[in-house]
Point group: C2
Chain length 143, copies 2
DNA sequence: AATTCTATTTGGAATAGTTCCAATTCCTAC
DNA sequence: GTAGGAATTGGAACTATTCCAAATAGAATT
């Protein structure tokens, strides 16, 4: 029983809990995101998925992604107005967008820091969601 | 000498410094953003600007906004994939997007907090930009 | 097992914010 | 005043995403 099997059992369970059907399309889209966790765009996911299922439609990929987000299995990552990316890392974390390569890296954020951020809000403001993102470069260290 | 005059002198100065011309279109777009600092969208800015200058084109508004951002006079504010908004508040701050009203509110962020955020980055990562945004609701307090 | 009912998928059209482009107009420098 | 570059303009093009109506698949019921 490999990790992919585990993940897809979790997927089926979560979908069923939400009253949705664990379809093969949803499974293959979810696996595509898991296989290389580099915050792929919809196009990238579509390309990966087509290798397994060449007949899947782009509309279905969009539908599956929306479903997976609603079930809380993946997160949408938006940067400026660039095409939406997706992230299977469910821990609270921030994103670093490397200007040079275009890559997006996860940045760990302690829960305590999240609390500090929430504390910035005026009384009465309740944040359902906090997004923290960095943009910049990565210096190469010479040894 | 009202504040609008002051702001527009600053605008002209900044544009000239950048080797750009202080045109009437750029001035009227900038004033439109300052007049009601509610993070207006391009459409809203276009509507405001047309009252002063009914002949201005949408393309020019887009051009002016890009110029003003490049000069550092305003900031782009993106939320998910909603239409871009603009903000003349040049202090480092976060944004709170009210789900109920769609309004965007500025949230003050102490410089010390910004430093803590930067400190989350691994060695070698240099953030040219940090974006922090909240989404949620505002509770009404009874008295 | 056939039928029914609904969820899901599918291909293509439509949408919308934004960008691009070529032509005109406007400034500035000479 | 003329020349040259900057800025503006209207409209076309672009593109990520959403919408839609028809086809398909799957679960439930008889
Ligand atoms: Mn994408
Ligand atoms: Mn906008
Ligand atoms: Zn991530
Ligand atoms: Zn702001």
């Amino acid at each position: 029983m490999n990790s992919s099997t585990v993940n897809c059992e979790a997927l089926a369970k979560r979908l069923t809990q939400s009253g949705l059907r664990p379809t093969v399309q949803r499974e293959v889209v979810y696996k595509a995101i898991l296989e290389k966790r580099n915050h792929p765009s919809t196009d990238e996911i579509f390309a990966r998925v087509r290798e397994q299922m060449p007949t899947i439609s782009l509309a279905t990929v969009y539908n599956c992604l929306e479903t997976l987000v609603q079930c809380g299995l993946i997160k949408q990552v938006n940067f400026e107005r660039a095409p939406t990316r997706y992230c299977p890392n469910l821990y609270e974390h921030a994103h670093f967008h490397d200007d040079a390569t275009g890559e997006v890296h996860d940045i760990a954020v302690p829960a305590e820091m999240m609390d500090r951020l929430r504390a910035l809000l005026p009384p009465g403001y309740k944040a359902a969601n906090i997004e923290l993102s960095f943009r910049g470069g990565v210096m190469h260290t010479r040894n």
